[in-house]
């Protein structure tokens, strides 16, 4: 009986006297309980009574056969009064008021909640090889109250287990037998196992049995793991020792493999040692066989002279400075012989033309001797950047303008003028990085064109007055006995790269290295000792900036004729001076 009460839009169902439940343990007897609900006046015993009726033949209501004395509000139906496959209906009545408060109908087999199984125990099935997991077999017996043997009740069981003190129970499938295996338990954990049962094809589980504790201590099993660990350790140590021995024995080879030496720059086919030793003739032969150079350029002009750059060679410092060479030594005459780096530089001789009157003189005059192949900075540096500046031999060329023949196409990469920053004791010139002449145009030009081409001597640091005179003048330079320098063709015509250019005085006069202070010939106005190279023409000859030529920018018309040179200051031609010079 319900009483629905609306309180703040909520329905509260207040119950009057009602049945709280009926249960059977073994399908042979059953009990029913009730409560008085909110009607407190009906709590005294006898106020409420239970009546039942079986839907069999008897349709009269009978009172509860047994009100349990010990338990309050319980009605007990014993074996006599219990029938299965029969529906019962019970009523809760207050006889005094003749009101039926509650009614319920059921069949006994539907209210069966079996007793818990008994005799739960476990046996160890096996332990995993790692010793971390194990399996158990759990056994139990059906509840004694349930007559399973007769087949009166067919029970199915459910095993549950959990890690101890965990809140979640693992449930296994229903089992109709009386044993079950549990797999995959951890060895160091404690497990609780319990079991309950119900009638097959019915839904009501009984109570759980008492839990049992399943625990398997983790066997330290050092015996099994010990050898394995030992073997592993020894194996690793052995391998490490082997590796170390291998490394030490094959150290060199490993070094080569892992840290390959950085290849030094070298020319194909040329041994750097060769260059160091100064075997110049071998070098020359080697180099001549190279096809690095364009033979066209090379063979066009026999007058090939090269400038030798002699950079920081500390050995040369021991010798007298270049300045001395230039200033004083040269005066002493051609007898002065430069201290050659090594006497065994036999290649030096090959550099010399047989016609050369005085190779020693030449050698004495040169700041950096080409013969000293070992000092050749170009040799030691790179093979590509050889500033081969040809110096025209004025004495030999009648009408042909002075041209330079670069031996290496990479001529164009070099600076066309650079300032001399220092002199080496041996007479070499140390250059400072100069500007890049960005217009290395290699136009093929008429040789007959009257263009004055300067050939840089020693990177343009110096040019003889004579040469300047020659250049400035439109007349072909006369190989007369002028003071000044004569360009000297070297053997480089034949392919020798390493002939530096050097200005040689005429054989007779043996004029030493011309000093800037030397008064120029009156033929031409005085020319500065060094001028800025303006451009390079097709023949790779330098065009120094003549006084009357264009300023030192990319010339568009390299074929400028040089007018008569005005008086040049003795010194470096500065851009503002250039401005004065431009027409």
């Amino acid at each position: 009986m319900y009483l629905s009460v609306y309180v703040n839009n909520n329905i509260y169902k207040l119950r009057g006297p009602h049945f709280t439940g009926c249960r059977s343990r073994e399908q042979e007897t059953f009990r029913c309980w009730w409560s008085a609900g909110i009607f407190q006046n009906l709590t005294e015993p006898g106020a409420l009574r239970v009546f039942y009726q079986t839907k069999n033949f008897l349709s009269e209501w009978q009172e509860c056969p047994d009100y349990t004395r010990t338990v309050k509000n319980e009605c007990y139906f014993n074996k006599t009064f219990t029938q299965i496959w029969t529906s019962y209906c019970i009523q809760l009545r207050s006889v005094r008021e003749n009101i039926t408060y509650d009614e319920a109908c059921f069949t006994v087999e539907n209210i069966v909640h079996p007793d818990p199984p008994i005799g739960l125990n476990w046996t160890l099935l096996n332990v995993s090889r790692s010793g971390l997991h194990f399996d158990v077999l759990v056994r139990w017996a059906p509840p004694p109250s349930a007559d399973v043997q007769m087949g009166w009740m067919s029970l199915v069981y459910q095993v549950q287990y959990r890690v101890r003190n965990n809140s979640h129970w693992e449930m296994l499938d229903l089992e109709s037998g009386t044993q079950q295996s549990i797999y995959g338990l951890h060895t160091d954990k404690e497990y609780e196992v319990r079991v309950r049962c119900k009638m097959s094809a019915f839904d009501n589980f009984g109570e759980f049995s008492d839990s049992i504790i399943v625990h398997v201590a983790q066997i330290p099993s050092k015996e099994s793991t010990f050898p394995t660990t030992l073997v592993l350790i020894f194996g690793v140590i052995g391998v490490v020792i082997l590796l170390v021995l291998l490394i030490f024995s094959q150290q060199q080879r490993l070094m080569v493999i892992f840290l390959p030496p950085i290849p030094a720059p070298k020319i194909k086919g040329i041994d750097p040692e060769l260059l160091k030793n100064g075997k110049l003739d071998q070098l020359n032969s080697l180099l001549s066989s190279q096809d690095m150079y364009k033979p066209d350029f090379y063979h066009e002009d026999p007058w090939v002279e090269f400038i030798q750059l002699d950079l920081d060679d500390p050995a040369e410092k021991n010798e007298s400075s270049d300045t001395q060479h230039l200033l004083g030594v040269s005066r002493s005459g051609s007898s002065h012989v430069l201290n050659f780096k090594s006497d065994d530089d036999s290649g030096r001789a090959s550099c010399y033309d047989p016609e050369i009157p005085n190779p020693e003189d030449l050698a004495s005059l040169l700041p950096g001797h080409s013969g000293r192949g070992d000092n050749h900075p170009l040799v030691s540096r790179s093979s590509s950047s050889i500033p081969d500046l040809g110096v025209q031999q004025t004495s030999e060329v009648e009408e042909t303008p002075i041209q330079t023949q670069p031996a290496v196409p990479s001529w164009v990469n070099m600076d066309f003028y650079a300032q001399v920053s220092d002199f080496t004791p041996a007479g070499g010139v140390v250059l400072s990085p100069g500007q890049l002449n960005s217009c290395p145009e290699k136009k093929k030009e008429e040789e007959n064109e009257k263009k004055i081409q300067f050939q840089l001597v020693s990177d343009g640091a110096y040019t003889s007055e004579n040469t300047a005179r020659q250049l400035s003048a439109s007349v072909p330079p006369s190989p007369g006995p002028e003071q000044g320098y004569q360009t000297f063709p070297t053997q480089a015509v034949e392919g020798n790269l390493w002939n530096g250019e050097y200005l040689v005085s005429t054989s007779d006069s043996q004029t030493p290295y011309l000093l800037p202070e030397a008064p120029p010939a009156p033929i031409l106005p005085p020319v500065s000792d060094y001028t800025v190279v303006q451009e390079v023409d097709a023949q790779h000859s330098l065009l120094l900036n003549p006084p009357s030529s264009q300023p030192a920018i990319c010339p568009h018309s390299p074929n400028k004729h040089l007018p008569a040179m005005p008086t040049m200051p003795m010194g470096y031609l500065t851009p503002d001076l250039l401005g004065n010079l431009t027409p």
Partner: protein, 247 residues
């Protein structure tokens, strides 16, 4: 009524015929090639075990059918709807009571354990046979009804079909058992006073027919339980008479 009589007569003939066959001619046994051969004999114990297995299976499947029926027919939704409208809906009562109206049996079967324990073997077997036979036709009918529903799950239909087939086998087994254990052939068919439920009524509203079908399933489940219980009791008696008697 005509139809009922026709059915009865037909059943009588069929059972006569099958009984005569089972008595006169042993059960047809077919080997792999399909030709009829003499059936290999089976021990009584094994046969009883097989019969019990059949009964158990049928019982379990009947319970599954009930659950499936409830779920698929949404009878519970109906129940809730009705309850919200404060209209009593007999679904749970139906279930709890094991069916309101189950067709009555020719002879009452006792329900208490003590009484059942006092039943003789003969009556146990006969009761089983009677139960099996009483359900063969209603199950066929149930199949047709279920097919009529649009959303009846295939599982339910399959189960019903399966149960029908298995009942036949069960009947065969029980007949053999009777013959073996009781040394009697069934000459006369069981007197079935079938009070067939009015299946020939025009199909009422769907909810009611659904309820009726559910009721049928529940009744069948109860009877299957009876079969199983009897057969198990029989087995218990075969193995150990003393413990199976009432104590």
């Amino acid at each position: 009524m005509n139809r009922v009589k026709v059915l009865q007569a037909w059943l009588w003939c069929v059972s006569l015929w099958s009984c005569w066959l089972s008595h006169a001619i042993p059960l047809d046994c077919k080997d792999e090639t399909g030709s009829l051969i003499q059936c290999t004999s089976i021990s009584q114990e094994k046969l009883l075990d097989r019969v019990i297995q059949h009964a158990e299976l049928i019982y379990r499947v009947s319970e599954e059918s009930c659950t499936l029926f409830i779920v698929s027919s949404q009878l519970e939704n109906m129940q809730r709807m009705m309850e919200d409208m404060f209209v009593p809906y007999p679904l749970h009562a139906l279930r709890n009571q094991g069916g309101t109206v189950c067709h009555t049996k020719p002879f009452p079967i006792p329900g208490s354990k003590t009484e059942i324990q006092q039943i003789s073997d003969k009556w146990l077997l006969h009761s089983v046979l009677m139960l099996v036979q009483s359900w063969m036709e209603p199950l066929i009918y149930l199949q047709t009804t279920l097919n009529r529903y649009d959303d009846a799950p295939d599982a339910l239909l399959n189960k019903t079909k399966w149960v029908s087939d298995k009942l036949l086998s069960l009947e065969q087994g029980v007949v053999v058992l009777i013959r073996k254990m009781l040394d009697e052939g069934i000459l006369t068919p069981s007197v079935f006073e079938h009070t067939l439920t009015p299946y020939d009524e025009p199909s009422p509203e769907i909810p009611e027919s659904v309820l009726r079908d559910y009721n049928l399933l529940i009744c069948f489940k109860k009877d299957a339980h009876k079969m199983e219980t009897f057969l198990k009791l029989l087995k218990c008696r075969q193995s150990n008479k003393l413990s199976c008697l009432s104590y």
